[in-house]
């Protein structure tokens, strides 16, 4: 494990990207930051700018208009960065698979490290997913 990756896992700052979701996953992510679940205990903070982010939390069904922006944003993240796809939509487009505006799932556009299924996944599932990601990258 490189020194950069080791530093990243100490206190991963997350940036939240919605690619045309129904708000539910996004709100469950915000729920993780509030007192009942409180992932700030583990050093995770919601970063205001993509340039401060270590982990990208991607939600949504991959809308045509927003995927262009997501590609550009992914180029701007300082590497190494980890990508977590949250919710059924970002995994396989779920219910919107036949939509004319959702041509490809998120992982066809940017590389994804962890998939968290659910519509929406519970905050517990999101926390478990992120913890698994840290364990996997840290070689535990």
């Amino acid at each position: 494990m490189g020194v950069k990756l080791k530093a990243l896992l100490k206190s991963p700052w997350v940036f939240h990207l919605s690619t045309g979701s129904c708000n539910n996953c996004d709100i469950e992510i915000l729920d993780c930051l509030t007192p009942r679940f409180d992932i700030e205990r583990f050093g995770m903070l919601l970063a205001g700018s993509i340039k401060h982010a270590d982990v990208l939390l991607v939600t949504g069904s991959g809308n045509r208009k927003s995927m262009e922006r997501v590609k550009r944003l992914y180029e701007q993240v300082p590497k190494p960065c980890l990508v977590v796809a949250i919710g059924e939509c970002s995994l396989s487009r779920g219910m919107f698979i036949h939509s004319y505006n959702c041509p490809v799932p998120v992982d066809k556009v940017i590389p994804v490290d962890v998939y968290i299924p659910g519509c929406p996944p519970k905050p517990e599932a999101i926390i478990a997913g992120v913890v698994k990601l840290i364990g996997k990258v840290g070689g535990k």
Partner: protein
């Protein structure tokens, strides 16, 4: 003087959904705004037309995660309007309970976000902690924290067990003291007064001219609420007050939402205590040809659904109009002349929801011809005619 344009978005920390704002500013003052949306468009109306009436409910639920009751409620009412039936009494009560639970959690969510925008993170944390209790109640009643899947044309999918009711009422009662404390913390706070009073005023005339809906219009003194004006569910049987304030500023919009949460608790408790026995579903088999409308009061305002059926098992046309579609234009009336630092809270005050709003809309641009289906068929036929003449 030179004007500066500040682009905000589409991905910015302000709101969880992507949308693009351009603020034209002259020094500190905002002189013009423009908004570009489309980052959330998923073609739900078209998807709904591909699915059967029963399946549609699940897609409609995913228009918006926060209003995941309001949209199916309006849709099922539209379908019932086509058939011309009334749902059983018990189903009406269950629908009202779920709709009011959603209103409480939506208003608390808004209160938290508004506190966050003002740099008042304590309110954010309190409100969202309290919101978890309501989500627990919803989980007991429906089995999920969000996306309840309780609605179907003709009734509800899941019954409320009588054994759950005492526990739920106890839980609802337990949030009242915390909510009262939160209300006092917001309404009596001198800093919040200074920050929100007289900011982003939407006058009564503007509210009427822009056809503002829900708490946005009620804060400006327009006493309009679908629950009172055209009662559905059991709202005509419950005693509750419509909260109307007169000033139309950010503070009044907050007050309307907080006090509405108390009214919702009252309605929810009444329905849980008076829940009648009986059927919960009509078991509708066929939907006759015809058209129907359904409108209900969502947390943000009136949701309107139009459904047309041709006698098959799928809707031919499904039109959705969400409250933010009407409320978002009022942002222009309220923000112009204010400072940049107030622009965020003024936008937040209308509680915008872009997922709800992003339906297909056609704008007529001068000088350009817009083709509809018939025009395209006509063009195609003309071309065939031309080719045929050429072959002769």
């Amino acid at each position: 003087m030179a004007k500066t344009i500040i682009p905000i978005g589409p991905y910015h920390p302000l709101q969880e959904e992507p949308e693009f704002f351009t603020l034209t500013v002259d020094g500190e003052r905002v002189v013009d705004i423009d908004v570009r949306i489309g980052y959330n468009h998923r073609g739900i109306e078209k998807l709904s037309e591909m699915k059967t009436f029963d399946q549609s409910t699940f897609v409609i639920e995913r228009i918006c995660g926060i209003c995941s009751t309001s949209h199916p409620f309006a849709y099922t009412r539209a379908v019932e309007d086509i058939i011309g039936v009334e749902v059983p009494e018990r189903a009406k009560y269950i629908r009202t309970i779920i709709a009011e639970g959603e209103r409480i959690h939506s208003h608390l969510l808004w209160l938290g976000l508004a506190g966050h925008f003002l740099g008042y993170n304590t309110v954010y944390m309190w409100a969202w902690k309290l919101r978890e209790e309501i989500l627990d109640v919803m989980e007991i009643l429906s089995g999920n924290r969000n996306n309840y899947a309780m609605f179907k044309p003709g009734g509800v999918r899941r019954d409320i067990k009588s054994g759950d009711i005492p526990g739920v009422i106890k839980k609802i009662d337990s949030i009242v003291p915390t909510l009262t404390m939160l209300k006092k913390a917001v309404i009596d706070d001198p800093v919040l007064h200074a920050r929100t009073k007289g900011i982003g005023v939407l006058s009564k005339e503007d509210a009427i001219n822009y056809s503002a809906l829900g708490p946005t219009s009620r804060a400006s003194g327009v006493a309009r609420d679908v629950r009172k004006d055209s009662p559905y569910g059991v709202y005509d049987k419950v005693e509750w007050d419509m909260i109307v304030t007169q000033n139309g500023d950010v503070f009044d919009k907050a007050v309307v939402r907080i006090l509405e949460a108390f009214e919702s608790i009252k309605i929810m408790k009444y329905c849980l205590l008076k829940l009648p026995k009986g059927e919960i579903d009509l078991n509708i088999k066929n939907i006759p040809p015809g058209e129907g409308i359904g409108h209900i009061e969502a947390p943000r305002g009136e949701v309107f659904h139009y459904v047309r059926s041709d006698g098959t098992n799928r809707p031919v046309r499904h039109k959705v109009r969400a409250p933010t579609f009407m409320n978002l234009p009022t942002y222009k009336a309220t923000v112009v002349g204010e400072t940049i630092s107030d622009a965020t809270i003024i936008l937040a005050a209308i509680d915008p929801c872009y997922c709800c709003t992003e339906r297909m809309a056609v704008r007529n641009i001068k000088g350009k011809k817009l083709y509809n289906g018939e025009d395209l068929i006509k063009l195609s036929q003309e071309k065939t005619e031309k080719v045929r003449r050429g072959l002769k």
